[in-house]
Amino acid sequence: MNEQQRLIKESLDRLLSDLCSKTTIDKAEKGEFPGELWHALADTGLVLAGLPEDLGGAGGDLADSLFVVREAAKFAAPVPLAEHFLAAVLWSGRGETVREGIMTFAEGDFRLSDNDQLSGTAPAVAFGRWSDTVTLIATRNNEDFLCGVPISEFRVEEANNIAGEPRDALSINLVLNKSQYLGGEPIKRKAYLIGAATRVALMAGALESILEMSVVYSTERVQFGKPIAKFQAIQQQLATMAGEVAASLRAAQSLETKFESMTELEVAIGKSRVGEAVGICTDIAHQVHGAMGYTMEHSLNQRTRRLWAWREEYGSEQEWEIAIGQFFSGNASEKLWDQVTFLN
């Protein structure tokens, strides 16, 4: 953590401790947009951390944006930080000023016709109904077009993931004006990669948080006359979890520090490694928490349900493992090690 990140973490912790209570999250899961929380994040500039100032961002390093996403995930913040950032990065990457309001990104299948008719659907757009504008990539004759369209132009079918986060089906059929799209650069795959990178950050943050919750709970819960933390079986499980969490954090940090030069392979390694940790860690966290952790009343589930949802988004472990396998098997095997050492 550098000095800039320490400052970000401090203000984020303060803000989220105040405004992102268990009740806030519960209400969001019932459909109430946490406006106060979002506006506080927007006012402090945290929602645009790392984006260039001259394009409306808060300045700093793009690594900071993923860091914000990771830290906010510790609180299970029910706001579209990841999507807002993804959209902002795509626009600012093209030299465009970041739009006002809440942005989301629609990963889907969109076409732009020769007369600028945008049509297509996205099955599960994060926080779609709460956004002001939707960023998406449409294609025309194999060319990618970055499009920004007000949410009011879409047909929105509301749906939630298992964490109660809005994942709305969006569809559209609309003639765009020239100011609403930008061609000339292949960007669809890049958007998918950044989307996956945000999931790595989200998962790593939530994993760190459930480790902390589990450690703390184990020192407080007393059975057989002592804190369950004193039982070796519990210690060994938490130690296993600590290893998975440490690996996940290291993988997430790698993507953060390499954000500007992020490759397909780096994202694949992060998404598959951290995705694998989710199964192991949620298993242990719930085991340690006993029946209490299996209730809506306890806040553990606000993290674990999100982890189960996020590991499915932007490609499961297997999708990325195949990509990694392709990268490494294509090389002569004596080059295998060579390839590993290129990855600092």
């Binding site: 953590m1 760190e208 480790l211 902390e212 450690v215 703390v216 184990s218 020192t219 933390a229 004193k230 070796q232 519990i234 210690q235 060994q236 938490l238 130690a239 296993t240 600590a242 290893g243 998975e244 969490v245 440490a246 690996a247 954090l249 290291r250 993988a251 940090q253 790698s254 520090t257 694949a268 390694i269 598959s272 490694r273 694998e276 472990e317 297997q318 990325w320 493992e321 195949i322 990509a323 990694i324 396998g325 392709q326 990268f327 490494f328 098997s329 294509g330 090389n331 002569a332 095997s333 004596e334 295998l336 090690w337 590993v340 050492t341 990855l343 600092n344």
Partner: protein, 378 residues
């Protein structure tokens, strides 16, 4: 307050990467192509190879120049060790002296010991064994029974050590023994001695492991006289000294690369024509490997800054050993149509060595105990 365990990213500096190419050239010239490479640091030894490595200055590379070292960083040492393992070089002879005996002498040894042993170790001419385990002492190291009694000008050593890797070929052992009877404070009253394995009152009996090799031994001490100047550090300070080695002992690439040659052979098998299932198996294992390596480099960075990251090292070893054991279990399910005998031999060698990965250097359970302590649970 809960403290998580983090491994801040460190990038290997350019001089370490430059050294990597040199090491590769050296390995290309000096490895015996008729020997099947094995990345397990305990699975191959060649005094000749270690001497050649010493000539290059690549043993004890971080040590002071006055003893013949090059005063290079832990990153450079890291690069050398990982290159040797990845290539499956026979590193068994010098591994322990380079990894922990040298650092032990630098921290606790007398000037005379440093002058006598470090230059020889650096030249790849003097090899050390670890003498900790005994027939009745494994994980509970404080329960050792071997003793040394004070006598005129030295000590008289009796007892036995077991599982001592390469005691049959190495020159010395650093033995941890009781110099005072066990007391209330279990960790008091132990001392470390440099034992000449060629001493006529020391006998060494080989023990066959699962693959039929005899690379570990039982060592018997029968009134072995140890002169005073072969005591390492202060008599009675043995426990503290042994603990101080753990950061070096547990965090290096040998804790996750033991099965690496299996991956090399597996990727060779599927290089022409791989199905999605096989690719996913390889991909999963590579994602783990890259992440572990980054964590281990982070620890090299901590060592370079002068920290002694005992909990972090235990965590890497546990995670890495679990991974090393996972590799053959995953690869065997790849449904290869016509696996080559080279692949099968490499996989079988790994399967036969795998049980040792989570035992040597501290068992899985003991490591998890160390991590749990780091988490504040005990």
């Amino acid at each position: 307050m809960f403290q998580g365990l983090t491994f801040e990213p460190f990038a290997l500096p350019p001089e370490a990467e430059a050294l990597r190419s040199e090491v590769r050239e050296f390995l290309a010239d000096s490895l015996d192509a008729s020997v099947l490479p094995n990345s397990d640091f305990n699975a191959g030894d060649s005094a000749e190879f270690s001497r050649a490595l010493g000539k290059k200055g690549w043993i004890g590379i971080t040590w002071p120049k006055i003893y013949g070292g090059l005063e290079k960083s832990f990153f450079e040492r890291y690069v050398i060790t990982e290159e040797l393992l990845a290539a499956g070089a026979p590193v068994g002879c010098h591994w322990i002296a380079d990894r922990q005996t040298g650092p032990l002498f630098l921290k606790f040894g007398t000037e005379k010991q440093r002058q006598e042993f470090l230059p020889q170790i650096i030249r790849g001419e003097c090899f050390f064994s670890i003498g900790m385990s005994e027939p009745d002492t494994g994980s509970d190291l404080a329960s050792i029974k071997s003793t040394a009694m004070k006598t005129e000008g030295g000590w008289v050593l009796n007892g036995s050590k077991i599982w001592t890797s390469y005691a049959h070929t190495n020159h010395y052992m650093v033995a941890l023994v009781r110099t005072e009877p066990a007391s209330e404070n279990r960790h008091a009253g132990m001392s470390q001695f440099i034992v000449d394995l060629g001493n006529e009152n020391v006998s060494v009996t080989g023990i066959k492991n699962l693959s039929g090799e005899e690379d570990f031994n039982q060592v018997f001490f029968d009134d072995v006289f140890i002169p005073d100047d072969m005591v390492v550090g202060k008599p009675g300070n043995g426990w503290e000294q042994v603990i101080s080695e753990l950061g070096y002992e547990r965090s290096g690439p040998e804790r996750f690369l033991s099965a690496f040659r299996v991956l090399v052979e597996f990727s060779r098998e599927i290089s022409e024509d791989a199905d999605a299932y096989q690719l996913a198996l390889l991909g999963r294992l590579m994602a783990h490997l890259v992440t572990l390596r980054r964590m281990s480099i982070s620890v090299a960075g901590m060592l370079e800054q002068g920290d002694m990251p005992i909990t972090e090292a235990a965590l890497i070893k546990d995670l890495g050993n679990t991974y090393e054991r996972l590799v053959p279990e995953v690869v065997r399910l790849a449904n290869l149509k016509n696996p080559s005998s080279r692949f099968i031999d490499t996989l079988n060698q790994c399967i036969l060595h795998a049980p040792s990965f989570t035992l040597r250097g501290g068992t899985r359970e003991i490591l998890k105990g160390v991590i749990a302590r780091g988490l504040g649970l005990r």
